[in-house]
């Protein structure tokens, strides 16, 4: 089953979202939708593709195997 990991947007520069993951930072382009700093998002293929509600994201991050 999917072990997809959401990360938190810590900065937005133009259309690039800088996203904080557990152990690294990744950049995803925002090409559709509206996102803001603090949002939990999924990045795939270099794009910000979806927002995950904070409560669900936190619960999932806690449940992930370390």
């Amino acid at each position: 089953m999917c072990l997809a990991i959401p990360g938190k947007i810590i900065k937005i520069e133009d259309d690039d979202a800088i996203v904080d993951y557990i152990s690294e930072k990744r950049v995803g382009k925002i090409v559709e939708g509206t996102y803001k700093v603090g949002d939990y998002v999924i990045i795939q293929g270099g794009l910000v593709i979806e927002q995950i509600p904070e409560e669900q994201a936190k619960k999932w991050l806690k449940a992930l195997p370390k």
Partner: protein, 169 residues
């Protein structure tokens, strides 16, 4: 396109998860990414070894439908059917068919994992924006065009976890 190419396009979007779970190395991931992107041949044996749970579920579908397991028809039947049922929680896998749905998995991620069909409404250098039906709503999502770069605005495509995987019409 061979059945192996088609399988890899549908399966590749989930492959990053295998790296996170340490089932495959980053190097192996990059090699599969390159193959999926460039349509380089990958052997059936390698795919079976890399995606054992999907293969076990695909074999079960083939048996039920009386069709060839590694065929384009069965690959699409599996990904659009059983694969999505698993994510909706309406199918309970056997032990060799991999783990059942994790109840903590956020709904929004579960929806990303579904194979969905939508129409391209916007196109960028490396992406499409796709409009699709989600229940009663119409939603838009950005997807990478890495695995299917031959589509245009107005085309209908299948998508899987942030990637366009196949042009339908």
């Amino acid at each position: 396109m061979t059945p192996e190419d088609l399988f890899l396009k549908y399966a590749f979007p989930c492959t990053i998860v295998k790296v996170a779970r340490k089932e495959i190395t980053q190097q192996e991931y990059e090699s599969l990414e390159q193959a999926a992107k460039e349509n380089q041949p990958v052997s059936r044996e390698r795919l079976e070894k890399t995606y054992p749970a999907a293969v076990a579920r695909m074999k079960a579908v083939a048996k039920e439908k009386g069709q060839v397991y590694f065929s384009e028809e069965n690959i699409r039947d599996y990904f659009l059917g059983r694969h999505n049922e698993l994510l909706r929680g309406t199918f309970k896998p056997t032990k060799e068919q991999g783990p059942a749905l994790d109840e903590n998995l956020p709904q929004a991620i579960r929806e990303l994992c579904l194979i969905t069909t939508g129409k391209i409404v916007k196109k960028g250098e490396a992406f499409y924006v796709v409009e699709f039906a989600a229940g009663k709503e119409t939603k838009r999502r950005a997807v990478s065009n890495m695995l299917a770069s031959d589509a245009e605005i107005g085309n209908v495509i299948r998508m899987h976890y942030g990637y366009a995987v196949e042009k339908v019409s």
